[in-house]
Each structure stands twice: as structure tokens, then as C-alpha cells.
């Protein structure tokens, strides 16, 4: 040990640390990103041509895959990029679905034309919802969105014009459309939504708004200096996501042909995308794609196990959230430093 009184310190002035000049370059586009763009384009074309080369069950599975992927991207857009966790996106899925009943079955509009109408209706409904919900922050916003979804579910269940609590059939609206066309059009709709969700997110996030959005996610308080624009951007994203979910809801129930309040406004829609996005990698565009693939694979393997399958998914999500908060894709990113759809600016040291 040292002596009782500390030794007198020599009076010295340490040299200031030398700073070597370093050069940096900010890059956004990479070789892998061009691979990503190409891959996306090729996949989209293959999917669009599927009615000519695939069988019916493949078409239906692909349709489901695409609309779940689109839903996951919509949720990721809110939670992953804007920091707005919603447990109530099923509100807009349900509203989109019920647009089929109102505009398709009752007013006789072509059921595929209802899809864009559903987007508009969902966006219109999102505006007053946002007015109330944006008074809440963080976790309270999340539970608030759930209340709103419940309100829409209960209102629908009480509305006998659209079938009340037991729901109604949509079959009347697709009579006269040949099955091949119905499947093909549903698939194309799902392709537009699935690929569109990725592409839209990609270009929005790579734009100058992208940086601001990521700042919002990382710290709402810190990005407060960005002023009202942050709030306005969260608004816009919330409404855009609602529109997306509305259109997706319409596609979902075109493929199901029967709708009820408990199915349309089911929390399961949000639970599913929660699994997908959290396990795949929240805050990335690739994460939800990886997550959706994983989700469908696991479901195929384990769906016979009923509740245990969901318990397992829940446990995996919890572990991923704690051990690797940026999910499987985040792990891949860190491991290999690559990104198919780069939305973050990279600081590379240039020689």
C-alpha cells in the first residue's frame, strides 16, 4: 500500500494529445444495396407472374405472406422509425375490411376498387383518432391506440347494418368474378402493398426526412429541437400507416370472404406483426422481411402445437428484445456490416 501522506506531485504539464487528421466519407448507397434493389425487383416480377406458373395454394400462401409483410412494415414504420408503438393497428385493418361490406356488398362497387377506397377511409378515420391519441406519449400512446381499436370493434359489433357481432359474408361482392381472376387480382394487390410498403419506406427513409425520423425514434426529447416538424412527421406517418393498414385489411378480407368484428379488429394482427418485427429486427426494412419468412416457417412447423407455438414465439420475442434489441437482422448487420436496403448513413474512413 502507499505511504500515509501522498508523495508531493511533480509539477508537470502534460503535452496536449496529438490529433491526427482523418478523412471520412458519408455513404448511403453500397454495392449490396444495388443487389437489394435488383432482388426486390426480380421477386416482385416473379410474384406478379405467379398466376401463370404457380398453383392455387402457392398463390394463396404468397398472398398471405405479402399482406402480413406489408402489415409488419406498416407497424415497423411507426414503432421502429417514428418511435410510436401502436397496439391498435387492428383498428384500421378492421375498418378496411368493413369497407368491403359497405362499399362492395351494399353499394355494389367493384371489390378491388374498394381497396384504395379503404385506404382513404382508414386515413380519414385516423385523423380524429390521432387528435386524441397524440395527447398521450410513449407507452400511454400504445395502450391508447388499443382503446381506440376496441371502440371501433364494439361500435361495429353493435351496428346491425353490417352484421353486428356475428359478422357477415362478402361472397356476394365477388360473384361474377372468375376464380382465377379473383386469386390473381388479390395476389397483385398484395404484391403492390407488400413491395410498395418496402419501397415506400426505403425512399422515405433515405430522403432527408429519414434522418429526422431516426432522430425521433432514438430520443423524442432530444429531437424536440427539431420542433413541430417532428410531431408533424409522426402525424403523417401515423396516417400513412393507417391508410396502408386499411388497404391491407381490404385485401385480407377479400381473400377470406367472411368478416366479423372479432376477426377484423383482432389483437392478433398486431401480435403477429409484433413477433415478426421484434424477432426480425425493429427499425430496419430488412428485419420484417426476415421476420415474416421466419414466422411462416415456424408456423408451418409448429402450428400443430397450438398454444405452445405462441408461447414459444412470445418467449423468443422477449429474449430477442433483451439480448439483441435490434433483432436477427441487426445481428447480421453488426456481424457483417452490410445492408440490402441501407437507410442509415454510414461513416466510412477513407484512406
Amino acid at each position: 500500500m502507499t505511504s500515509q501522506t501522498p508523495p508531493p506531485l511533480p509539477v508537470t504539464v502534460a503535452p496536449a494529445p496529438a490529433r491526427a487528421p482523418a478523412k471520412y466519407a458519408v455513404t448511403l448507397s453500397t454495392r449490396t444495396s444495388r443487389v437489394g434493389e435488383t432482388l426486390l425487383l426480380v421477386t416482385a416480377i416473379a410474384l406478379c407472374l405467379m398466376p401463370w406458373w404457380g398453383d392455387r395454394s402457392l398463390i394463396r400462401t404468397s398472398t398471405e405472406f405479402l399482406y402480413i409483410l406489408a402489415l409488419a412494415q406498416m407497424w415497423n414504420m411507426l414503432a421502429g422509425y417514428a418511435g410510436l408503438v401502436s397496439i391498435g393497428q387492428q383498428a384500421f385493418v378492421g375498418i378496411g375490411g368493413y369497407c368491403l361490406v359497405v362499399f362492395g356488398v351494399q353499394m355494389g362497387l367493384n371489390i378491388f376498387l374498394v381497396v384504395p377506397v379503404a385506404a382513404v377511409v382508414a386515413a380519414l378515420v385516423a385523423v380524429p383518432s390521432a387528435l386524441v391519441l397524440f395527447r398521450l406519449r410513449g407507452a400511454y400512446f400504445a395502450v391508447g391506440t388499443w382503446v381506440v381499436a376496441e371502440v371501433f370493434r364494439l361500435l361495429t359489433a353493435n351496428a346491425s347494418v353490417v352484421g353486428g357481432g356475428s359478422g357477415t359474408s362478402i361472397t356476394a361482392a365477388v360473384q361474377g368474378i372468375p376464380v382465377w381472376w379473383r386469386d390473381a387480382l388479390t395476389l397483385w394487390g398484395a404484391v403492390i402493398l407488400g413491395v410498395g410498403a418496402i419501397a415506400a419506406g426505403y425512399f422515405v427513409l433515405r430522403s432527408r426526412y429519414g434522418l429526422a425520423l431516426q432522430a425521433v425514434r432514438d430520443s423524442e426529447a432530444a429531437s424536440g429541437s427539431l420542433g413541430i416538424r417532428v410531431r408533424r412527421m409522426q402525424w403523417m406517418l401515423y396516417i400513412a400507416s393507417a391508410a396502408g393498414c386499411g388497404a391491407i385489411g381490404a385485401i385480407i378480407f377479400i381473400s377470406k370472404l367472411r368478416i366479423s368484428p372479432s376477426a377484423a379488429f383482432s389483437l392478433d394482427w398486431t401480435t403477429t406483426v409484433f413477433f415478426i418485427v421484434v424477432i426480425g429486427g425493429i427499425g430496419t426494412l430488412e428485419g420484417p422481411i426476415l421476420g415474416t419468412i421466419l414466422f411462416f416457417a415456424l408456423r408451418g412447423l409448429l402450428s400443430d402445437f397450438g398454444s405452445w407455438y405462441l408461447i414459444l414465439l412470445g418467449a423468443v420475442a422477449v429474449i430477442v428484445m433483451i439480448r439483441m434489441p435490434d433483432g436477427l437482422w441487426g445481428w447480421v448487420l453488426r456481424r457483417f456490416n452490410l445492408s440490402l436496403f441501407p437507410t442509415r448513413r454510414r461513416l466510412d474512413r477513407t484512406p
Binding site: 395502450v143 382503446v147 422477449v318
Partner: protein
């Protein structure tokens, strides 16, 4: 007229149950800034534990309640130390998503173990006993007892928070965890104790849920929403506000149900949204953080 008075009274007393739902949530938020999405599922879990204690272990209801409180408090302590502690200080996303995952796990576990059937706890005479308040106005003894318990829980918590060292440690940790550590406070331990306390209140809510209502494994989310609404209506951090919030929800539900049986729950949600529009910070705001 007396009909409506009865409806109103029933609503007020129903608010007692909602207050008990909300108090545990409010406590966890107050100390840890944690919004526990699995809160409602934990209430249902407590109800099942009560059911097992009474029907399988053949304990009398009061003894069963004590067992449930102990089990849930211990579970809360372990839950915090083992799982939720990893989400502290990591922004809102992590605790929110972890407890959401937990909620799904709990619901499906209960489905596996207890099946999807609705259950209820038989409490004998207590369930049907009523108290006459003169004229045609009567209230059930059980709802009255629940309201009494809710008020007692709030009074006890208030005393704990203001009069005890542990209570001061709770408040200090909630204000500023880092500085609390500088005082020698083990904040992880404080969080775990707060969670144990919150779960003890959840246990009380669960026992009453089991006796008063029928419940099933998927009934958690609805109870979370009521708890959440009572907390927000009352104003964050105000326990008496939570009581007011619970009563407002109970009364609107009773009135809504009276008008049309399909409008009971809906009326509560609408009352909540209305309060949110008029008083965004709740009726008795205490903390600004939300």
C-alpha cells in the same frame, strides 16, 4: 327514479374493482415508469391461483386470498429481478415490447393449463348478500366490500409512501434513480419490492375478479384497458385520482349497459376518450411524464 339511483350506485361500486385493477398499474408506473402490458393477464393469473387455492387445496376464501397475495408478490419480485430489470433505462420500446411478449405467453399458458372455459369462484353467501339503504335502494355486500378494500389499499399505500423509509426510497428512486443510488439505495431491489407490492395489489384484484365475475384466460387485455383508463382519467401518480377514474368508468359502464346491453364496455371507453379530449392530463395530474 330509484332504478336509476340503483344503477348509479352499482356503477360507483363497480368502480371499486376498476380502482383495484388500476392501483397496481399505477404503482408500477409511479416507481419504475413501467407500463406493464401484461398487467391484465397477471390479474387473471391471480384469479386462477385463487381458484386453485380454493378448489384444489380446499382453503377457505380468506386463507386462499392470503396465499394468492404471497404467491403473486413473490412472483412480482422474481419477474422484476429476473426479467424486467433488463429493460430499465432502455427507453420505452424495450419494457413495452417485453411485457407485450409476456402478456402473450401468459394468455397462452393459461389457455393450455386451464382451458378456454369461463370460470368463477364460489364464495357462498357473500355473493348474494345485499345491504338495504332504505326504500328500494339496495347494494350488494360484495361490491361494497370491494370498494372498501380499494379505499383501504389506497390509504395504506399513501401511508407507506409518505411515512416510511421504504416509501421515501420509492419516491426518490422514481424521481432520479441515479441520485438515489448515491444515497446508498439499491434501486434494483427497490424496483423489485415495488413490483412485489404492485403484484400484491394485483392479487387482491384477482381474488375479487374470481369471486365477482366470470373470467377466462383471454380476459386480461380488457382488464388492462380498464386499469389504464382509470389511471389516465385520474391523472398519473395520483392514487385518489385513480379511484375517481375507476368510479367514472364504473358509472359510465352501468349507465351504458342500462341503455343497451351492448353499450356497457363501449361507454367506459368513450368516457375515457372524452376525458382525454377535455382534460388531457387527467382530473388530478401529479407528474408530467407521459
Amino acid at each position: 327514479m330509484t332504478d336509476w339511483l340503483n344503477t348509479l350506485l352499482q356503477g360507483v361500486l363497480l368502480g371499486g374493482l376498476y380502482t383495484l385493477f388500476a392501483t397496481g398499474l399505477s404503482l408500477a408506473f409511479g416507481v419504475m415508469r413501467l407500463v406493464n402490458i401484461a398487467h391484465g393477464d397477471l390479474i387473471v393469473l391471480a384469479a386462477y391461483v385463487a381458484l386453485v387455492a380454493v378448489e384444489t387445496l380446499h382453503l377457505p376464501v380468506l386463507a386462499a386470498a392470503a396465499v394468492v397475495i404471497l404467491v403473486m408478490a413473490a412472483g412480482g419480485y422474481v419477474l422484476q429481478r429476473g426479467l424486467l430489470t433488463h429493460t430499465v433505462g432502455r427507453g420505452i420500446l424495450s419494457p413495452l415490447l417485453v411485457t407485450f411478449g409476456l402478456s402473450i405467453i401468459l394468455q397462452n399458458l393459461m389457455l393450455e393449463i386451464f382451458s378456454a372455459d369461463s370460470r368463477g369462484l364460489q364464495a357462498g353467501a357473500l355473493e348474494t348478500a345485499s345491504v338495504s339503504l332504505g326504500g328500494d335502494i339496495t347494494v350488494g355486500a360484495l361490491p361494497l366490500m370491494i370498494m372498501g378494500t380499494a379505499i383501504a389499499v389506497i390509504v395504506l399505500l399513501q401511508l407507506l409512501f409518505t411515512r416510511t423509509t421504504l416509501g421515501r426510497a420509492f419516491r426518490a428512486t422514481s424521481d432520479d434513480g441515479e441520485t438515489a443510488q448515491l444515497m446508498g439505495i439499491d434501486t434494483k431491489q427497490v424496483y423489485a419490492l415495488a413490483m412485489a407490492l404492485a403484484m400484491a395489489v394485483v392479487a387482491v384484484a384477482g381474488v375479487y375478479t374470481a369471486i365477482r365475475t366470470s373470467f377466462d384466460p383471454l380476459g386480461g387485455p380488457n382488464r388492462l384497458l380498464f386499469a389504464f383508463e382509470a389511471v389516465i382519467i385520474g391523472g398519473l401518480g395520483s392514487l385518489w385520482g385513480t379511484l375517481a377514474g375507476g368510479i367514472i368508468l364504473g358509472v359510465s359502464q352501468a349507465i351504458g349497459f342500462r341503455l343497451d346491453p351492448g353499450w356497457g364496455t363501449l361507454s367506459s371507453h368513450l368516457a375515457f376518450l372524452a376525458v382525454l379530449v377535455v382534460r388531457p392530463n387527467g382530473l388530478f395530474p401529479r407528474t408530467r411524464d407521459r
